[in-house]
Amino acid sequence: MTSDPKAARLQKVFPVDLDKFLPDIIKRNYGKWVDRKFHGAGIIEHISETGERVFTVKVAMPPNARLSADTLEKFADIADRLGIGALRATMAGNLEFLTDSLEKALKIKEEVESMGFPVGGWGPAMWGINSCTAFLTCTTSVVDSPSITKALGDVLKPYFTGEEKLPAKLRIYVSGCPAMCAGGTAIDIAIVGQWGAPPIIREEALSYCLPPPKALEKIAESQVFLVQICPTGALSLRREGGRVKLTLIPEKCINCARCKENCDAFDYDPENVGVAILVGGKMSNTGRGPRLGRVLIPWLPAIPPRYEEIVAVVKRVIDVWREHAQPGERLAEFIDRIGWQRFVGLVGLEKVHAVYQRIPDHVRTFMYFRQRYEAWRRLREGI
């Protein structure tokens, strides 16, 4: 194809050599773990059939799991000194120190905590708050998830460290926009940035997102990329003489942000922007199994740096859950058991759901034309 030696880059170097990347103690006990013990928040003892043990110490990272190289090196030092010379990043953005005795684990805990990084999670506790990158690096963000995460963490830390108990696992995902990079909505509490009002089109920047004029002439309006990606048909292209005009029908827009994700010409007014808070999602097959979260409140302003409105709602949800849930009951199962209305009432947001009853007429028609979900109790469930 080419003689450029850089073309070799098309063959990726994947870190797949288990032998190379796994610590020795892990290799020796790979697949041999027979039991585990929890030693307070954040520490697990894994017991192998070989008799060996590995202790993991789970450490909260700053929002968006951002570390300086300096701090990372300090952690490496601790891992060498008190651990088995290895760390691992968890799936969800915490850092696990690995060691081989409880004392060392407790020592690690002490040291990282003195550096300002709390140890905690596992079992009936907050396991962490996941944040996307948002204003740190992202062009499409509408609210800044890392600072929201910080504001939440400052208030919720005792649930992470185990100072305050929770009924079950709690995780929070904070995403700066509807792309939901923090992991979506299938989690206990999800906070999702959204535009509030339909996008504003900046005519002057639009040409970057459209095919060149010559090519555009040959494409049917409905086939133009920007028109196509809008899932509701809110965007349409009209040709006026030689010029084209992209129009947006606000009534059709659902604020999904797909246009924005694909074209920088879509803008918004910070006044309208806010977050939706969803509750009761989960991925795990425990309880009644995985499910998507549900909107508890479709909009709240996101006012840095303390985001008091968001923090208040999250705190309140947790308080209600703590007070009323059975032991072991995740937020999802708790809401299922007591019912949405009661839950919303306990939180103090009874009035909120009125909005969900508004469904535009054309939508309803079709929704009920095909398989319809039953919105209200039928006799059988009622009696």
Partner: protein, 407 residues
């Protein structure tokens, strides 16, 4: 994006940005701002964004030869005083995301020398992210390849894979998630689809060792989740001991079983394997007296995603593979990709495409056949009227002709 209305003059803006940043360094939770201060990241840009309540970043460009995914670059918007830029690589994580300290030090070194000294230790897809300075991009790629990893996974391509820690550290692991992770990456087709974007949209593959689904496979385009057949395994002896020791309450086990599979007659705990829905509830409470069953299967879910065209979706369960079927699993991924890649509109995730095609049609087109495939997508409509084409009507008529013969 345009400057938000009512932005204060530059000096005032920077001052308020600084106040905002300082506020974010207070409080007991680890602060990203404090970390960022230890780096050469242009923190004022972030601060200005917070004050303006608008992302301060606009799209930038950086070209890295033969690196078509995993590179992202930004310019500060024109309303950010003093400007700024930001470029980062998405880098493949190690299996189980284990970082030995020598590896950490290599990363840190690269980060400091070729970047700004800032690392996102794990991104939400499972890569890690390393900031760099634009002019060091070529060097950074080579440096990363040197230490045994690489840049990739953004755009309309297969993304960084994700697998839970599995047998490396977890008692529940039902299959070797990390070997699957490695085998997938070693496949040439996977490599190419990661290296070069070309699909209708992004494509994610996630692997969880058991139904806890720590890797959130049920939200991937294709996910693999370890399960077992029948009832969990009960070590009655050990269970009795745990009960006597007060560690386990058998009545609670029965009550918390969401499928009503567990019965406790005061002496022995019995589990009805037919009923068991693999919730792991009994297992996590009484482990290792209760463990997953021995006959292991890998549940395959397809079409999950957080949004796409039609909004949030969990995966659709389509059947099982065996715990060693890595090659079949990779084949299945490409079978699933084929009709999607051929037919889907741009920016339709696999799940959106499945909704458009209908899952049964999709499975047929993709020629996917698995053990334990569930039946039937949908029951009939509740609405007895519809507009039907002449062809459709004829089809129905033909179908019934045969029945007429039998009646």
């Amino acid at each position: 994006m345009a400057a938000p209305p009512g932005l204060p003059p530059p000096e005032e803006l920077l001052k308020r940005a600084d106040e905002m940043l300082r506020e974010l360094e207070k409080g007991p939770w680890p602060s990203h701002v404090s970390e960022l201060r230890k780096t050469r990241y242009p923190l004022h840009v972030y601060g200005v964004g917070l004050v303006a309540r608008k992302s301060p970043w606009g799209p930038g460009t950086v070209r890295v030869k033969y690196v078509n995914t995993g590179v992202l670059s930004r310019w500060a918007r024109d309303w950010v005083p003093n400007g700024g830029e930001e470029t980062h690589f998405r880098v493949f994580h190690t299996p189980g995301k284990f970082w030995k300290t020598d590896f950490i030090r290599q990363i840190a070194k690269i980060s400091k020398e070729l970047g700004v000294g800032l690392i996102e230790i794990v991104g939400q897809t499972g890569a890690f992210v390393i900031n760099l300075t634009k002019d060091k991009a070529e060097e950074m790629v080579d440096a990363l390849r040197e230490i045994g990893t690489d840049v990739g996974g953004s755009g309309d391509a297969i993304r960084a894979l994700n697998a839970c820690v599995g047998p490396a550290l977890c008692e529940f692991a039902l299959f070797d998630t990390l070997r699957w992770y490695a085998e997938f990456y070693k496949d040439k087709r996977i490599n190419d689809a990661i290296a070069t974007p070309g699909f209708p949209y992004k494509f994610k593959i996630k692997i969880s060792g058991c139904p806890m689904d720590c890797a959130r496979a049920n939200r991937a385009d294709v996910g693999f989740i370890g399960v077992w057949e029948g009832a969990p395994e009960v070590d009655q002896e050990l269970l009795r001991k745990k009960i006597e020791a007060g560690e386990v309450d058998p009545k609670e086990l029965a009550a918390r079983c969401p499928s009503g599979a567990i019965s406790w007659d005061g002496k022995e705990l019995r589990i009805d394997g037919e009923k068991c829905k693999k919730s792991m509830e009994c297992i996590r409470r009484a482990f290792p007296a209760i463990k997953p069953g021995k006959k292991i299967k890998i549940a395959v879910v397809v079409g999950g995603g957080v949004k796409g065209r039609f909004g949030p979706k969990l995966g659709n369960f389509i059947g099982y593979l065996g715990p060693n079927d890595t090659q079949k699993a990779i084949d299945l991924v490409f079978k699933a990709i084929e009709p999607w890649n051929n037919e889907a509109m741009p920016k339709c995730r696999l799940g959106d495409y499945i909704m458009i095609a209908g899952i049964e049609n999709f499975l047929k087109k993709a020629d996917i056949k698995l053990e334990g495939m569930p039946e039937m997508a949908k029951t009939g409509d509740e609405v007895p009227y519809a507009v039907l084409s002449k062809e459709e009507r004829e089809e129905y008529l033909n179908l019934v002709k045969e029945l007429k013969g039998r009646a």
